[in-house]
Point group: C2
Chain length 101, copies 2
DNA sequence: ATAGTTTATCGTAAAAATACGATTGTCTTA
DNA sequence: TAAGACAATCGTATTTTTACGATAAACTAT
């Protein structure tokens, strides 16, 4: 009698969520860029990427929703940086996922 | 004069690819399951997951395409296991990604 | 007030992901 | 040869993702 009711663990849902945030090259690029620069304005990111400003904005939104970045308004600009707390958590989760045998 | 022609690095494309494989809880579950069991048949996985056999097969295909698992036919079954070489590469890439400042 | 700068959001179109049932192909066993 | 077991594939429907241009919102500077 198969279970078939198994939902996933909270940890599995969480790592899938972080993985989804990293599942597009543009978002990997943005995270890497922010990690290097420590922080920067949206315009700097738009300059780097081969896509429209609105598309970049959408990617930033997803990264923010995943908890990996955070933005602060500095009129008339917005500065983004890595959310270090969740960054550490993501690192730990991926490390644990690949380590455990 | 913004570049705008920047494609992503091979490493960025690669990590995005691995992340995409991990971006669904069912696939995280499958990988974790295979990592624990060392190897098992498709039927064992289907038993565990709350979805149709055809859907599980689809997820297995994606994991295989991403290079994270491999299957061997043992009539009338198919046994899957982690592709350790790429598993190690993925671990290294995620570790490097989150480590570098 | 007006004009300019910066970024988010809206509306939309096209593509990809997800899930299902049904079918097919392969191999065993009766 | 026929029947059964297993897993992949097909066809399809629904949802989500991705991208764009246009517009709106927030603030500065003139």
């Amino acid at each position: 009698m198969p279970t078939k009711t198994v939902p996933y663990t909270a940890g599995q849902e969480r790592i899938a969520r972080y993985a989804k945030a990293l599942s597009h090259p543009a978002r990997v690029y943005i995270l890497r860029f922010l990690d290097k620069q420590c922080a920067c304005y949206v315009g700097n990111i738009v300059e780097e990427l081969p896509m429209a400003q609105s598309s970049v904005s959408q990617h930033l939104k997803e990264l923010k929703n995943a908890g990996l970045i955070q933005g602060t308004v500095e009129p008339p600009k917005v500065k983004y940086c890595i959310n270090r707390e969740n960054w550490r958590e993501a690192r730990a989760m991926f490390a644990a996922f690949f380590e455990e045998g």
